[in-house]
């Protein structure tokens, strides 16, 4: 479904992604993990075409992604920060996003699910952070898309809403969807994730089942396993192939490194 080939991205001198090769083809929940600044959000945003790669290619359903963005009708995306035009009302915002897609929407069901009935006519500028995040979740999950990308979905949610979110995530998995989630809450990963992709400084250091990760570093829980990964010892990036170029006697030589 989604393939990333040798994906690289730098912002000025800062290299955020340094050669990512990964595919998200199988249904299930993939947790994209890594410390702050490891490139998680950049990775997810480049799938949506919000970040334009410096090098490499992304294909979605077999086709390279394009600027027109029609392919995005098959992706639901939850942005990390929930801020909306302050003077619009909740219902208006939902109608606006619905007007961009001609797909059936289940916004009414989700509004009930998150208990947002009473704030539908409130202006978005007057909502609390947690309520805004619930609106954000409604906007994201109201479409039946094969791919769902959630960037820090739990931010600001109260425990009740968190439980409801988990229900929705599990339901989506059971419908055979591909879910990509970033989070810093390891218990959530432990509970939900079928696969863990661990990023550090723009490279993938682990890609596999959470159990495999725990076994590899011999830690009983994921939080400690990740900490152990970070403290060194087990750290070697998984690199597949990587194109390189070098100058020799004025000539540029291209080669592919395999490791």
């Amino acid at each position: 479904m989604i393939q990333l080939h040798h994906l690289e991205k730098s912002f000025g001198r800062l290299e955020v992604l340094r050669g990512i090769d990964v595919a998200f083809d199988q249904p299930g929940i993939t947790a994209v993990l890594g410390p702050n600044g490891s490139g998680k959000s950049t990775l997810l945003k480049s799938i949506l075409g919000m970040v334009l790669p410096s090098a490499g290619q992304i294909t979605f359903q077999g086709k390279p992604i394009d600027q027109q963005g029609a392919y995005r009708k098959d992706i639901s995306y939850l942005p990390q920060i929930a801020r909306f035009p302050e003077n619009l009302r909740v219902a208006e915002l939902i109608r606006m996003i619905e007007s961009f897609r001609s797909q059936p929407s289940r916004s009414a069901e989700l509004i009930r699910h998150f208990g947002l009935e009473s704030v539908q006519q409130s202006q978005l500028g007057h909502l609390s952070g947690g309520t805004r995040q619930k609106v954000n979740l409604v906007l994201t999950l109201m479409y039946d898309t094969p791919v769902i990308i959630l960037d820090e979905p739990t931010a600001g949610l109260d425990p009740v809403a968190l439980v409801k979110l988990k229900e929705l995530i599990i339901q989506a998995r059971s419908e055979g969807k591909i879910l990509l989630i970033t989070t810093h809450i390891m218990s959530l990963v432990e509970e939900l994730a079928d696969r863990v992709v661990f990023l550090l400084e723009g490279r993938i250091y682990f890609d596999g089942k959470p159990e495999t990760l725990k076994e590899r570093v011999q830690e009983p829980n994921l939080e400690k396993a990740i900490a152990s990964l970070l403290s060194g010892g087990h750290l070697t990036p998984i690199s597949t192939t990587r194109p390189v170029q070098a100058k020799m006697n004025g000539k540029v030589i291209h080669a592919t490194i395999k490791s």
Binding site: K45, L52, G69, Y71, F84, P85, M96, S99
Partner: protein, 260 residues
């Protein structure tokens, strides 16, 4: 794109700042009528205020709205709509909200005063057209500055600098230059120089229409003398429209290449 324009417009027309802006013009125009019953005098006084205030407010609005909707833009970028519709739609929403707010604020007192029955209707129309064009031009410049600069302080700072340069300092520098090179024929230089300042162009446009030679200033007089009223106005209006289109094509260019 029309959906984005509609919602961006709907968001803005409910903003308190825009009510202040409309209210300000209502008060100002009303007050000018209170002081003088002479329509053409009111038009000239209002022109002087518009040439300063419309560019400043439009610049600041353009910058402010772009920064305020950054996170929301991310949500829009994740929808199956092309990038350029998002940014051009947002810009057109802001510019139209400002233009309408200006039209209402400045227009209502004139309509109440019976402008439609007087011979000043065309002079007044030119004043409104200039104000609307300035709203579009400067909100595009503001939006553009905010799009280029991720640092908000720098974005607002640059907007103020642009305003100071074009609304205040430009005239001074221009006069200095004229005095300095007064031994040379400067007419063509003057026409060329005013083309680079939309505020000056708007002033020339209005004064050529009003035919108030005492207020035209050097560039206005040169336009009048060399091009005549009609072609002078034609040139000024054409260049103003180019000024309105050019920053928009830059918005499109940058928005297609920016990371979010």
């Amino acid at each position: 794109m029309h959906r984005i324009i509609r919602y961006s417009f709907a968001d803005l027309i409910r903003s308190r700042w825009l009510y202040f802006y409309t209210g300000f013009y209502l008060l100002l125009t009303g007050a000018l009528f209170f002081i003088s019953a002479d329509l053409s005098k009111v038009i000239v006084s209002l022109m002087n205020a518009i040439l300063f205030i419309v560019p400043l407010v439009a610049l600041l609005f353009g910058v402010m709205v772009q920064y305020n909707t950054r996170e929301f833009t991310e949500l829009l970028l994740a929808q199956p709509i092309p990038r350029k519709s998002i940014f051009l739609g947002q810009y057109l929403g802001i510019a139209s909200a400002l233009a309408i707010s200006f039209l209402l604020g400045a227009g209502i007192p004139f309509i109440l005063s019976g402008i439609f029955l007087s011979g000043e209707i065309w002079n007044f129309s030119i004043l409104l057209i200039s104000g609307v064009l300035l709203s579009y031009i400067f909100s595009a410049l503001g939006y553009l500055l905010a799009l280029i600069n991720d640092n908000r302080i720098r974005g607002f700072g640059l907007a103020i600098v642009v305003w100071l340069l074009l609304a205040v300092i430009y005239d001074g520098l221009f006069l200095l230059g004229l005095a300095w090179f007064s031994d040379y024929p400067l007419e063509h230089v003057a026409i060329a120089a005013s083309i680079f300042n939309p505020i000056d162009l708007a002033r020339i446009l209005i004064l050529l229409k009003l035919d108030v030679s005492a207020l035209m200033g050097y560039t206005g007089a040169v336009f009048n003398q060399f091009l005549g009223t009609a072609s002078g106005m034609g040139l000024a209006l054409t260049v103003l429209v180019i000024w309105a289109v050019f920053p928009v094509s830059l918005i499109r260019f940058i928005s297609l290449r920016k990371d979010f």
